[in-house]
């Protein structure tokens, strides 16, 4: 069911041609949206400073990326992701589902309702952005294929195609393909989307074309890019960063200013695009989506399940 979560902004507020020429219009839109039926949803659409949520520029979002399949430098994806072909594209959905199969990207899109979601993106490396995504709720896709009652988790895989993804040819210590996973209730949550575009344009390759996961209350590495496989399972799936360094990256990876990463504090974050003299902003619990998702983790020790 689309539109279960309401944006501060309507899709009309983000018309790509004008918006990234003039970001201020989005600001105005966000302020206007804040008055519209969003009472009782504090935090939403409001950045840590209390300012309206202002998306980063298209340029920022598409030139500062972590997509290790193309290299470890933030500038590598924009340089090398052009080699990726995204047509044809299909997503294999298997495991504990009623109708497993290989679904063509176009067929999925024909079934789904694409909407705009302007979300904070918080990287585990303590930087953040605001991204105007287009996408559909993962729950809609899962309901379409039918989740069998015994399923408890959802596993995802990125494309493995070394001839187009240059860092996969070198290994780099990562056991490709990139893998991620969610608990089923997290996957079904209305905030969880499969994004297929940003700023009203098809998803750029460096951002995970043509279809990627976005889970805004978790660190960015959970939001797996260029997804080719979705598996419903009854056991917690292996996830790439957890396999690499379990003491640093947990399965849950919820944004939490009170639980530090072993290498850096998570209390504050650097908002990308602020220039040399911008100071860090306080990081919000669950990346500002606490009211929406805290119930998922009731009774859990978040220090242990980081």
């Amino acid at each position: 069911m689309a539109y279960r979560w309401k944006n501060d902004l309507s899709p009309g507020d983000v018309t790509p041609e004008t918006v990234w020429v003039n970001r201020r219009r989005i600001m105005a839109g966000a302020v206007a949206g804040a008055g519209l039926g969003l009472a009782g949803l504090p935090g939403r659409g409001v950045a840590a400073t209390g300012d309206a949520l202002e998306p980063n520029s298209y340029e920022d979002i598409t030139s500062y990326n972590n997509f290790y399949e193309f290299g470890t430098d933030k500038g590598d994806p924009v340089k090398y992701a052009g080699a990726l072909t995204t047509e044809p594209w299909s997503v294999e959905i298997d495991g504990m589902v009623e109708r497993p199969g290989r679904y063509d990207f176009a067929d999925i899109m024909a079934q789904m309702t694409v909407e705009e979601r302007i979300y904070r993106l918080r990287c585990v490396e303590a930087w953040s952005m605001v991204v105007p995504w287009q996408g559909f709720e993962l729950a809609d896709l899962l309901n379409w294929v039918g989740v069998r009652p015994e399923a408890k988790y959802v596993a995802f895989e990125t494309l493995y195609r070394p001839e187009e993804m240059r860092a996969q040819r070198r290994g780099g210590g990562i056991d490709w393909p990139y893998r991620e996973g969610l608990r089923l209730d997290e996957a079904m949550h209305p905030l969880t989307i499969m994004a297929t575009g940003l700023y009203g344009k098809p998803m750029p390759n460096q951002n995970g074309a043509p279809i990627r996961l976005v889970v805004p209350w978790k660190y960015g590495f959970k939001s797996i890019k260029s997804v080719v496989k979705i598996t419903l399972t009854d056991s917690e799936p292996e996830t790439t960063w957890n396999m690499l360094q379990p003491s640093e990256y947990g399965f849950y990876a919820n944004v939490n200013p009170n639980v530090d990463h072993p290498r850096w504090s998570q209390a504050r974050e650097r908002v990308v695009g602020g220039g040399l003299f911008a100071s860090k902003q306080p990081t919000l619990m669950f990346n500002g989506y606490e009211d929406d998702v805290a119930a998922l983790y009731e009774g859990m020790d978040l220090e242990r399940f980081y």
Partner: protein
């Protein structure tokens, strides 16, 4: 050999101060780039990295001076102090950018130094460089005596290794570039270790050039 002699002669005409000037100009240019978008959307991290990496390059250049003289007879000895001090300049600015622009909170700075191993290691490397910078003048060398000065300045070996290990540890995975720096430093140190061993055995076959007054 002729080419090397000509190179050594030519290089004698270059004033070492050019290295300081180049360092200052490059650092100013990096800040300018950071402020005007040339370092990408997140310039603070990019600036830290550029400063740190260039600092390591100067350390490596400084460590290469003695082996170059010994093995290839290329004499860059008169640039070595400038190379070392310029490395110290880059690493000091690298540290300042981290302290002021990146973290900016004293409580967090201290917590990071104590709690984050890669920062502890980098900080230790920097602290080792401080006495070397302070005693880099001719006067200091005279006052300390050459033997004591040489012993002290061997700290640069440890500082160099710590700097490279700091770089390796920052990576979330095994990236190639930091390992290249570490490899270069270990190679330059191994060249010295080999020489120490052979000297220890009594076959001081390498006495063609006296570099003993320097911490090779």
């Amino acid at each position: 050999m002729r080419a090397v002699a000509a190179f050594n002669r030519a290089v004698r005409l270059v004033p070492p101060h050019i290295i300081y000037a180049a360092g200052f100009l490059h650092i100013a240019w990096l800040f300018w780039q950071g402020q005007t978008g040339g370092l990408g959307p997140e310039p603070i991290n990019a600036l830290e990295r550029a400063l740190g990496e260039t600092g390591l390059k100067f350390i490596i250049a400084g460590l290469a001076v003695t082996p170059l003289l010994r093995l290839a007879r290329v004499n860059l000895m008169r640039f070595r102090r400038a190379l070392g001090l310029t490395a110290f300049l880059y690493i000091s600015v690298h540290l300042l950018v981290w302290l002021v622009l990146d973290i900016g909170l004293w409580s967090e700075i201290w917590a990071d130094i104590v709690k984050r191993p890669y920062i502890t290691v980098g900080m230790a490397g920097f602290i080792l460089l401080v006495p070397l910078a302070v005693t880099s003048t001719d006067g200091a060398m005279r006052r300390m005596g050459v033997a004591a000065w040489r012993r002290l300045h061997r700290l640069v070996y440890l500082a160099a290794v710590l700097g490279a290990v700091h770089f390796v540890m920052i990576g979330k995975t095994w990236a190639l570039e930091p390992l290249v720096y570490l490899g270069a430093i270990l190679t330059l140190l191994a060249l010295r270790a080999g020489r120490l061993v052979s000297r220890g055995r009594g076959n001081a076959g390498d006495s063609r050039i006296r570099t003993d007054s320097f911490p090779g």
